[in-house]
Amino acid sequence: MTMDFSWFKWLMFIVAAALSIVGSLMMVTRRNAIHSALWMIATFIAIAVIYVMQNAQFIAIAQVMVYAGAIMMLILFVIMLVNLEKDSAPERKFSSRKFTGAIITIMLFFEVLVVGTAYQITGREAVYSAGMLQRAGNVRVMGSLLYGQYLFPFELASILLLIGIVGAVILAKGKKE
């Protein structure tokens, strides 16, 4: 006998989607940058939940560790280093820049809505179904892909990371007196 857990999937989806939307809205609207960063972490974790629901467990864990852990910690540190000034003079309530931005984003949103409702997925069905991933193991499949078919981009990514580390150190070190 198999239990029907689809209601639970819906519940998880609704909660995670609501949390990610609310978190990102708060992130955009908070005036204090630290509050923005904390709401951003909540958003990232909610998105990780949605990744788990889509058979991407490895990416979900990487999301929590890389984004919610490493990148946001870096951002919090830089906010504390840099954000000395209190909020500058309140922005004008209505400016042409905001008006243009609003028009552009509303258009963008409706385009995305149209695509989200009227899309048609094209392309060949691959072999990595949910059952196959469960039998072989998500991380194992991911690793064999990264070290097999995608070996060259993987090595390039390592070089990119090295260059990024060196560049960040050189930039942040500043000039010697």
């Binding site: 992130m27 955009v28 990371l161 990024g164």
Partner: protein, 103 residues
């Protein structure tokens, strides 16, 4: 018995998150908050990748997201180092006041 969640819902969620990130990147002035909004837009794109990969039962979406995450990590490190440099130079990271390249 309920239906499984249609993939369109995930795509719409991805679009909503991308739009919110775009609004933030346009309206905010603090460079770090703009940077965080761009990270949010990257995350929305990642969500669309994962959804499309899952819909086709393919792992390519997850692999692409892996590489996007790598690039985002590098971007975070270098971008924040640039913010620190700008702060040393100008004493502010308000995006409206950083106009050294203005003729």
């Amino acid at each position: 018995m309920l239906q499984d969640i249609p993939h369109g819902f995930y795509f719409i969620l991805s679009g909503i998150l991308f739009t919110i990130g775009c609004i933030g990147a346009i309206t905010r002035r603090n460079a770090i908050v703009i940077f965080m909004c761009i990270e949010l837009m990257l995350n929305a794109v990642n969500l669309a990748f994962i959804t499309a990969g899952n819909a086709l039962s393919s792992m390519d979406g997850a692999v692409f997201v892996f590489f996007i995450m790598t690039v985002a990590a590098v971007e975070a490190a270098v971008g924040l180092a640039i913010f620190i440099t700008i702060f040393r130079l100008k004493g502010t990271i308000n995006a409206d006041e950083v106009n050294l390249l203005k003729g």
